[in-house]
Symmetry: C2
Subunit: 306 residues, 2 copies
């Protein structure tokens, strides 16, 4: 079973508006609502491919109930007294204006309750995925705490900034920032190579950086690879989450890194072909696997870092 | 007891954003939530001035529960299966961008249940206030149906367009559009005088038109008056609802129209001084009463229209 953790999920609300005018009243033509959060997207992609998953996280208030009920996944969220946040995507004139609410404040008792719930699922877990931002009130090293609790269960972290850097002390199996997150974490001048190196020096055993149309870069104890998707048109939201899902598949399947990165590129490109985050076009996934190869970037082995 | 009816209420959400950028992600710094709807605002103003009120309306889903629980009013909303809508006000850079969701679809059975609930409260009512838009599914003459059920209980209608025009067949005691609503109902070229006359010809016994800083105009069987507020700076949201509250006070207190219009101008100006819709600054209300007079516009009586 793959455990996904979404500590700061959101009810994703989409407003379709004929045209969005600032400082005026805009009538919303159509409202749609969906459980959101990077960890939930990872779980959805895995679940649709037949993997056994359990979605964990924090949820509160009526929107928290709704999030869990509508996730369409085996889920065991820990209840909090604050209310699950919303994101509002205003789709108008071909553009999307996002409004993201801050998450609810989490109390130390709620954080302790989550850790206890997480620990109860661990004996059945073959991998743990920790995704997204931390809500207010959680310690900055929350992901390190969970990776520490996971012990021998391989942990994949998809985060940025303090949440990412503080996770590294627990030596997570894989961290997967995208290039923008890498820039926001280490500065705009940081190259993919240098950022990945820095993350490994700070404790990550392997690093996968997603770089949109330029593909995925893996920096691992086995070597470095790049895999490039065969196309880039579509909906990029959730492509990174699909890459994380493939990394988890590689971890539990004990695939080598070249194979894992190939699947990650194929599955994230297949997610670009699907209309909603957390979905992947399975035909495109299969077709992509036939054409994508992971290209080795260097041949040296770095056995000392294993 | 004054009954207020809010058939299309909304949970009013306010997002404070440091700056709103179209087609980008905007982090919301602060979220506040409040029960919204013109009828609820009228009830709040009356309740704060010591009047016995009962807020009726339609509410559904968790946001409907929250709306009723947070209204801070005696309330008996009829439950519907659809979900109470939200409005989102994005406050940024000194401006307010509004996003208004459509209301939930109301079934014929739910509309019948509301009428039955409304009829149960009528024997205790001294006035009925019907405010705001109609949600999808209700007949266009919903306000005429309720005014007809009210029978001898004086009814005040604050609406626009079809909901307003269709209400007139039931000969409501007072209708109160603002000038923009009058324009949207009868065309931009319609003067306040002509619009009011037309509403009376179609069935309204009296008409009060609110015209922002230019004050309130009453066209009644007793004559025509204008009352102008002493200042205009502040928050105009809810000023019209405060005017409706004062009209209801005049109806139940059997004030003459000059006195009613004076109070309506004083109370709506006092609402402009208060931070939130549904509130009025009571000191400002008292002070305004000392300086506002209703100025007669013509002296002819129109006894035939009583």
């Amino acid at each position: 079973m793959i455990l996904t953790v979404t500590l700061n999920p959101a009810l994703d609300v989409t407003y379709r508006v004929p045209g969005l005018t600032l400082d005026a009243t805009n009538r919303v033509a159509e409202v749609s609502v969906r459980a959101g959060g990077k960890g939930l997207n990872v779980a959805r992609v895995l679940h649709a491919l037949g993997y056994e998953v359990m979605a964990l996280g924090l949820a509160g208030g009526p929107d928290g109930d709704r999030l869990v009920a509508s996730a369409g996944l085996p889920a065991a969220f820990t209840r909090v007294s604050g209310e699950t946040r919303r994101t509002v995507a205003v789709v108008a004139d071909g553009g999307v204006t996002m409004l993201t609410e801050p998450g609810p404040g989490i109390t130390p008792a709620e954080w302790a309750a989550f850790q206890a719930d997480f620990a109860r699922w661990l004996p059945r877990a073959s991998a743990v995925v920790l995704s997204g931002s931390l809500p207010p009130g959680l310690p900055a090293d929350a992901y390190a705490v969970l990776a520490g609790l996971a012990g021998g269960v391989p942990t994949i972290v998809d985060a940025e900034g303090d949440a990412l850097v503080n996770a590294l002390a627990a030596r997570p199996h894989v961290v997967k920032p995208n290039v923008d997150e890498l820039s926001r974490t280490f500065g705009a001048a940081t190259s993919v190579r240098d950022g990945a190196l820095r993350l490994r020096e700070l404790g990550a055993r392997a690093v996968v950086v997603s770089d949109g149309p330029r593909g995925l870069h893996a920096d691992t104890p086995e070597g470095r690879w790049r895999a490039v998707p065969p196309y880039t048109e579509g909906n990029p939201t959730g492509a990174g989450d699909a890459a994380v899902a493939a990394i988890a598949m590689g971890v539990v399947g004990r695939w080598d890194w070249a194979e894992t990165l190939r699947h990650a590129a194929a599955l994230s490109a297949a997610a670009v072909r699907a209309p909603l985050a957390g979905q992947a076009d399975h035909t495109a996934y299969r077709d992509n696997l036939a054409v994508i190869a992971a290209e080795p970037l260097e041949f040296e082995r770095e056995g000392t870092q294993c």
